[in-house]
Symmetry: D2
Subunit: 263 residues, 4 copies
């Protein structure tokens, strides 16, 4: 597939890693020298080009995580790819899923969700901060994913969700226990609730609240991804890693039979 003007491309070379938009006649500056936009256009993706200083740089189609990590703006990224991946598989979110998320922050998780619920699912993104909604919207547009997302400026703890029968709800906020009743109402009767919190103080409150509200199969997970150096003669884990982002707590809503009293 040839690279066309206006495409976003991922540049990868020695010390080079960025996502840029291809423009005719442009000169792309990298720390390894200049690349001409015209040398890229019309070539196949995967092509290796040379910079003005003679270094090799590969031109690749970016993944949505590449675009978000490189161009998603300066709002704190709350949910990392490693946790996003675990949430999606643990909650069974896939094509066709209807999912709500509160709060969206910069829209990183929102975008990943939108990517996976396509083409017939939907993501409802809530945040009580207008600047988060604005940043998330811009990121979703950049990625061409806004069609699958409804963004809502609304405090779910006090005002609730507008949807019902959702497959999953994801709470990424400081006081998720306050949004638990709203989330339960918005879920289908065996829907999946995912809560993401950084401290164990919050963890204890969340677990207590979820068990009290009848959730079952409540699991708590802590994902670590160790990245390694990949020089053939020097294969070893990187010295410093991001060892903690948040704890994931996942459970399933249940209901009780109307007639049968729970002694």
């Amino acid at each position: 597939m040839p690279i066309r003007e206006g495409d976003y491309v991922l540049l990868v070379g020695d010390g080079v890693r960025s996502v840029i938009k291809v423009v005719k006649g442009s000169r792309i500056n990298t720390i390894r020298g200049i690349i001409n936009g015209d040398d890229i256009i019309g070539n196949e993706y995967g092509i290796i080009v040379r910079t003005s200083l003679g270094y090799e740089v590969a031109i690749l189609r970016p993944l949505i995580t590449d675009i978000l990590l490189e161009r998603g703006g300066r709002v704190t990224q709350v949910i990392y790819p490693k946790d996003a991946a675990q949430i999606i598989i643990s909650a069974g979110i896939g094509p066709g899923s209807k999912v709500a998320e509160a709060g969206v922050g910069s829209g990183f998780m929102t975008a990943v969700l939108a990517y996976y619920v396509r083409p017939d699912g939907k993501v409802y993104g809530y945040d009580k901060r207008e600047d988060s909604i604005r940043t998330a919207r811009r990121n979703l547009e950049l990625l061409g994913l806004n069609e699958w997302v409804e963004l809502r400026l609304r405090d779910v703890s006090t005002e609730g969700f507008l949807e019902k029968e959702l497959d999953a709800v994801i709470l990424d906020m400081g006081d998720p226990w306050n949004a638990l009743p709203s989330a339960t109402e918005a879920l289908r009767t065996d829907g999946i609730l995912v809560i993401y919190v950084p401290t164990v103080n919050q963890v204890i409150k969340v677990i207590t609240a979820m068990k009290g509200a009848g959730y079952v199969n409540v699991r708590m997970l802590d994902v670590t991804v160790r990245e390694w150096k990949t020089e053939p003669n020097e294969v070893r884990p990187h010295t410093w890693i991001n060892a903690h982002t948040g704890f994931l707590i996942i459970g399933r809503r249940t209901i009780r039979p109307a007639a049968q009293p729970t002694e």
Copy 2:
């Protein structure tokens, strides 16, 4: 959504966790007593029922990972959910992706891939063992995912892949370096190669081969998911965890301009 005869359901209770098929007039044995199939049918998913011994059990829609883990048969499960999740997000596999996988084993990863490429993508699953193909086919049918998978009894190292222009290729075999030339040919020009191996001896061979074949952005990852006990008064990591399954090595194919000689 009411539970119907013939549905697979996930039972979750104190010490109870299984996936069963709902049959009218059946008696389901659990270690906490018996549940009557007729007490389940027609109820909403999420319903809590009581066993003959008075214990509560929740009846839930199973995720595909629940079904695979509980009923996927006794062939060794090679790629775990934690690694499957990381592969999917790191390789950008989603709705519409065209992906090949060699070898399929019991079909766990194949099923997860099929779930995420729906409705218009495709998974090509290769294995040189007939019993693996058979088990994978049975598991895919059980999950209703066979429509999105072509299974092929074929040794990719010697006979190659039948497809071209694939978005991603996943190699889960003992000697993936032998399949590397075939995988490269089957990928689109900037396609993503994922290799999954358990030992660092293999890791070194894989990295050397991938770099030699022009792959860039070669990353190596080691995913650990620590699962915690979720009693509100006793929140702590489980004592024993599955700390190692395999190392993930991920890279992107590149091509060189035809006319431009590489010094």
Copy 3:
């Protein structure tokens, strides 16, 4: 150094690992065949002997951790070698240190402490259970370390420690916050307190209590030791590891100047 009758030796071979006492004329059964006690006595440590079935077994001087792990009895081992090592270095415990420990359990940590405070330090081991004191005493005798330990059947939470000016106090009990005032009194003015608890519920209580009691430099650690398979052609982490034993919380006592009021 030749092996003498009465020595404890560590046998290491393929599938063989045990600590036994060498007896003249004895026949030692292993899963790889029989070894004659007489074939061992008088040889150098490190000698490789052959079993009746032709397998090779090495005869080694056991470390104290080998003896404790193999012959320490069936009382739950509470503090693992990995955590014992971290405690010793984090608390600066070494030759000459005066240390108290409550509760001693089977005496594993007590023995390690005694080993490191030799020859002029002392360990004061408290437990409120008589059977723990008895087991710990037996283990210390087995190791020849009882000279450096005073064992005391006493509840430190209600009755306090008998010592003053200790370099370090280690609390390994369910409700360490109840023993905190006693521990503080027993420590020297800048002494080191180490608390070992398995749950984060306890962690929060401990940290709150320690900060409230004026401890500074309060650190919390979580030690993981991943053990690898060491076949030259198959180097990889073991699949299952002991991923959690307890959290270590370490802090230093302080005092306030008598005259200077703390507004």
Copy 4:
């Protein structure tokens, strides 16, 4: 115990952590204001003093690891406390042990070893770089531990060790397989060899060489210490951790009976 002029003390306060030498009439600058040396001298260790800006700082006896980490100089610290602790316990190094170490680097591990072999053991520290020997000597003097260490400017791979019958040898160098024959000769017949290397390429060579040289009980370990934030209302792992320093490989020398040929 009162603080005397000339003592090294550890200052701990909000954002303050340093080791300084107490001098009469001195003014100690910290980022929280000034402390007068005269306000410290004569007080008990553990005292909380106030800076000129009103902040509280505790004055503590430093551990040897505090001194090394704060004042050990700018030579790369090769073996971290977490690994030093694991080496000491895994190799059974304690009071009375005779141990050699090659190379000493800045002397961090050497100092820890010296601390634990006191009062009647000895550490033999080898390095082929004169500046390492010099830095190590300065650090050992600073700590008052030089009495227990012999430093030797010598390449153990080509020239061997000068000692025999050592309890343990620690190799911390890039090509430890070249020093393996010398190390084996220097060990007692069932002595313990510890090798510390950062890459898995080295690991494979080390394991192959050790097994080939008759070492048994060869273990490989990978120690991770996760440090947590200890605010009572915000208990959580630190975001970034030092996730990899080196792999530890530990084994025991053996000998074969002179007369008995190995099949």
